[in-house]
Amino acid sequence: MTDILRLFGPLVLWLASFSAIYGLHGAICAQGWDRSLLVMAWGIAVAVQAAPLLLLSTERFGARAGFVRRASLALAIVSLVAVIWTLAPAAFLSACV
């Protein structure tokens, strides 16, 4: 089960960040909050998403089996790319138009 979590965990974390920032976007538009919150949230999401990559590359938290180790690291990289790419509009587009 732990190996399954290693494989699916990083992308599930991306999904959580993505959903949370989409929700935050809705709240910002509804409440009239400052959009800089979104940029901050994106930065935090990128930093948090780097954690599984770092953890899975250590002996303690990484998988023992070579296949799962390689696949989980690849998926952690995919997740990091995903969080940067999919949430980048937070920094570049108008928020509530």
């Binding site: 399954i4 999904l15 929700g23 999919t86 928020a95 509530c96």
Partner: protein, 837 residues
């Protein structure tokens, strides 16, 4: 390589075959259809029923094309047309595509994984009968002329009582929810089977590639279907009881339905595509006489695609007025999913490049898939770009795109699967070469139909229109499109004839006609009910390729569990990561319980449908009674200790392990359940922040005493069940712990009940309605856990629990913890706003 040691079972091959056949066989005659729990039988039945639904859906498609062949066609009026296009989409998506995957997985997974059955055979049968009964409801509606007519998306207000006052929409909401029970059941057991029911030595890196795809698909079903089930429940509550979730004037919002629907609907596209991709990754290397290139990358691609697909649902809502930034989030995510699909496509192309492909019929369908799916993928990237999407939104271009993706990406690979595995199903070889002719008719007919539909869409023809005027410029295109659609239909009819001839003409085929290396060919074909006479141990991914004598060795009993014991249906469970054997599972025998349970479950849905509400609690009580009967027969009344698994290996029964299959099943069922609850909270937050006419006229006010009772219950319940487990582990009495659990859970229920009690009128505002559902959800779980705990007390008294047999108590612990968490979350959601404001 497969290791079959010199260990020899004391029973000879023929005697073993006869004994295992007697143990595993279905009941003879017609009774066997209704009492079988064997995955081979149920898988075949699933596949057959799904194909019947495919042909019904196909006939409806032909009616649609007949109507659109000419302008102002008198063939049918809009009322009938609306029912027909709605039912075409509904049947193809819910009654054909998903069940076909389920049937394929049910039939093949144990054979591919080296097991004798799926994790929960009775659940397989229950899911199948729910599918048949739920699907029959919809077909009855179609024949009676009262079928759903709001489109397969069922957008309110068109589908609410305002736009659809009759029973039509109720058939969809209730029938589809009934069918979805089948999908959730299948997903739970496929997941548990892949993780635990494999051949010895089959580590994650040695799993057949189809198993990876099936695992991802099943996890997607567990998390993708709950939003739709929730949406259906909410819309039916609105239609039946006036709870205004989607009515703007009362704080609801019809966009909530679109979010819930597409939270399901977009992952659904990949739920359909991924099994097909699994089929291609399995068949293509065999056809190319090589192994799959980049197995690890394909696994990474499948997992990436599965999870990323949950972040793109809003791309179906680009034209709803959502702010640009949100559109850009989902546009970016939509383009991103092209990358893992690309990885898989290039892995397949590389596999062809690496091997020496032979153009057998399955390969022909795979080539057809490449040509079609790549076009569908490219038009998918086009509609992911927001400005283009706005141009083609709700036009025939989108209809064409989705057919390229779904027919090219699912139907063609499934036809490859049909021709690849048909010898396995029947033990025979094809006689005539009708299949090749059928391929060209379907392929040419398909492209002739849908390539043109892109064009007419770009010229402005809206989807779902029942007619159009002469002089629109669409006439010739539609006529040609309709002609080609009938060419395609003739092709599908030929395939049916080909399969019937194949089944009828008794021309025996060889055991492994394609020279494949996977385990499903390491058994006689058609397969015996027990699959493997003894269970293999594998040391590589292509077990049969590395050890051609494997089938014979297994028949001789050189694998595990080769000696039938006490008439029991036995198989092995393994460690998830390493594939090390760790338990022996005893499966239930043939029983009518699943069909009876599905029938009684149908009473709940029927009661809702025909508004005979007295039937709902009655059928609910019947389901509870049958569930208790269902689980009472599991386990043992005494410790059995280690058992001989063959080849010198001693293992415990799974019921004497800490995490029996039921525990794993509960974990994944709770994941689906938590997704449902999460979507409910999302809906609540969505209405709050986006819907007009908020805040509600009055916030719910908490009674602090009852909040205290609930918090105390949330503490006592989980502690009580842990106390009981600890006592059992020390051979003490678990009763005090169980009683403490009961007290705690009753407190939780009382807390949850305060939510609806504080808001007496659920029809007043969407806020009140939503909190009624949230409170009801908490109350339902409290009641469920009370029932489970009482059951445990009875089981303990009857001797089913001991220090070695703790599994059942650990399962209930999961549910107690979950009930405590959701009740606390429900109370916070209900009363925090009132306190803060």
């Amino acid at each position: 390589m497969v290791s079959l040691c010199r260990w020899v079972s004391p029973v000879n091959a023929l005697r073993r075959h006869r004994e295992l056949s007697r143990i595993w066989a279905s009941d003879p005659g017609w009774r066997g259809w209704f009492t079988t729990v064997n995955h081979t039988d149920i898988g075949r039945m699933f596949l057959a029923v799904a194909v019947i639904f495919f042909f019904i859906g196909g006939i409806l498609a032909m009616l649609i094309r007949a109507q659109l062949a000419s302008p102002r066609s008198p063939f049918m009026g809009p009322e009938i047309y609306n029912q027909i296009f709605t039912m075409h989409g509904t049947i193809m998506m819910f009654l054909f595509a998903i069940p076909l995957f389920e049937g394929l997985a049910v039939y093949f997974l144990p054979k591919l994984l080296g097991a004798r059955d799926l994790a929960f055979p009775r659940l397989t049968a229950y899911g199948f009968w729910c599918y048949v009964f739920g699907g029959s409801m919809l077909i009855f509606a179609l024949l009676a002329g009262i079928a759903p007519d709001s489109g397969w998306f069922m957008y309110p207000p068109l589908s609410s009582t305002l736009g659809s006052p009759g029973i039509n929409s109720d058939f969809w909401l209730i029938g589809i929810t009934f069918v979805e029970i089948s999908a959730i059941c299948a997903a739970v057991e496929i997941t548990v089977s892949i993780l635990r029911y494999r051949a010895a030595g089959m580590s994650l890196s040695r799993m057949p590639i189809f198993a990876w795809y099936a695992l991802v698909t099943s996890l997607m079903i567990l998390t993708g279907f709950p939003p739709l089930i929730l949406g259906s429940v909410l819309l039916e509550l609105e239609r039946a009881f006036g709870m205004p979730f989607f009515q703007v004037e009362h704080g609801g919002d019809s966009l909530l339905w679109q979010h819930l629907f597409w939270l399901f609907g977009h992952p659904e596209v990949y739920i359909i595509f991924l099994p097909a991709a699994g089929v291609i990754s399995t068949i293509l290397p065999v056809m190319a006489r090589t192994t799959l290139l980049g197995y690890g990358w394909v696994v990474v691609g499948a997992i990436s695609l599965g999870v990323l697909s949950f972040g793109i649902w809003v791309h179906h809502m680009f034209a709803t007025g959502i702010p640009h930034m949100a559109l850009a989030f989902f546009s970016a995510a939509s383009t991103l999913v092209a990358v893992p699909i690309g990885i898989q496509i290039f892995a397949w192309l590389g596999t062809i490049w690496k091997g020496r492909p032979q153009m057998h019929l399955p390969m022909l369908w795979i080539v057809g898939f490449f040509a079609t799916f790549v076009i569908g993928g490219l038009t998918g990237v086009m509609v992911a770009v927001v400005p283009f999407n706005w141009q083609v939104h709700d036009t025939a271009f989108v209809t064409a795109h989705l057919h390229y993706v779904l027919v090219g990406g699912f139907v063609f690979p499934m036809l490859a699967a049909l021709y690849y595995w048909m010898p396995h199903l029947t033990g025979r070889k094809r006689f005539f070469k009708l299949g090749e002719t059928a391929f060209w008719l379907v392929f040419i007919g398909f492209h002739g139909t849908f390539l043109l539909m892109h064009w007419v869409g770009l010229l402005g023809q809206r989807r779902r229109i029942d007619t159009y005027d002469a002089g629109s410029g669409w006439e010739v295109i539609n006529l040609i499109s309709s002609v080609f659609s009938f060419v395609m239909a003739i092709g599908f009819a030929l395939i049916l004839i080909d399969v019937i001839i194949h089944t009828v003409i008794r021309s025996r085929g060889p055991r492994n006609p394609w020279g494949a290396g996977s385990l499903e060919w390491a058994m006689p074909i058609p397969p015996p009910p027990y699959n493997f006479a003894s269970l293999p141990e594998v040391t590589s991914r292509d077990a049969l390729a590395k050890s051609p004598g494997l089938a014979l060795g297994l028949a001789k009993g050189e694998g595990y569990l080769g000696t039938p014991r006490d008439g029991l249906r036995e198989t092995l469970t393994v460690d998830t990561a390493t594939g090390q054997p760790n338990g022996i599972v005893v499966f239930p025998k043939n029983t009518a319980l699943p069909i009876l349970m599905a029938f009684v479950t149908g009473g709940i849905f029927l009661g809702m449908l025909i508004k005979a509400y007295w039937l709902v609690p009655l059928a609910g009580a019947g389901v509870v009674a049958l569930s208790l009967r269902w689980v009472w027969g599991l386990g043992h009344r005494r410790d059995r200790g280690l058992q001989d698994a063959g080849r010198g290996l001693m293992l415990p029964f799974a019921s004497e392990t800490a995490d029996p299959p039921g525990w794993w099943g509960s974990v994944f069922l709770l994941i689906a359940n938590a997704t449902f609850f999460g979507c409910l909270l999302f809906g609540y937050a969505f209405l709050w922040t986006v819907a007009p006419n908020w805040p509600p006229p009055q916030w719910g006010v908490a009674d602090v005493r009852w909040l205290g009772v609930a918090f105390t219950g949330a503490l006592i319940g989980p502690l009580g069940i842990r106390w009981a487990i600890l006592s059992l582990g020390r051979d003490g009495s678990p009763l005090p712990g169980f009683l403490a659990t009961l007290v705690g859970v009753v407190g939780l229920g009382a807390g949850a009940a305060t939510i609806p009690l504080s808001l007496p009128d659920p029809t007043r505002h969407a806020y009140d309605a939503t909190l009624w559902v949230i409170g009801g959800y908490g109350l339902f779980h409290a009641a469920l856990v009370v029932l489970m705990t009482c059951f445990l007390i009875a089981r303990s008294a009857a001797g089913f629990l001991s220090a070695r047999r703790l599994g059942e108590a650990r399962i209930v612990r999961l549910w107690v913890d979950y009930a405590a968490l959701v009740t606390l979350a429900a109370l916070a959601a209900a009363f925090a706003p009132g306190l803060l404001s």
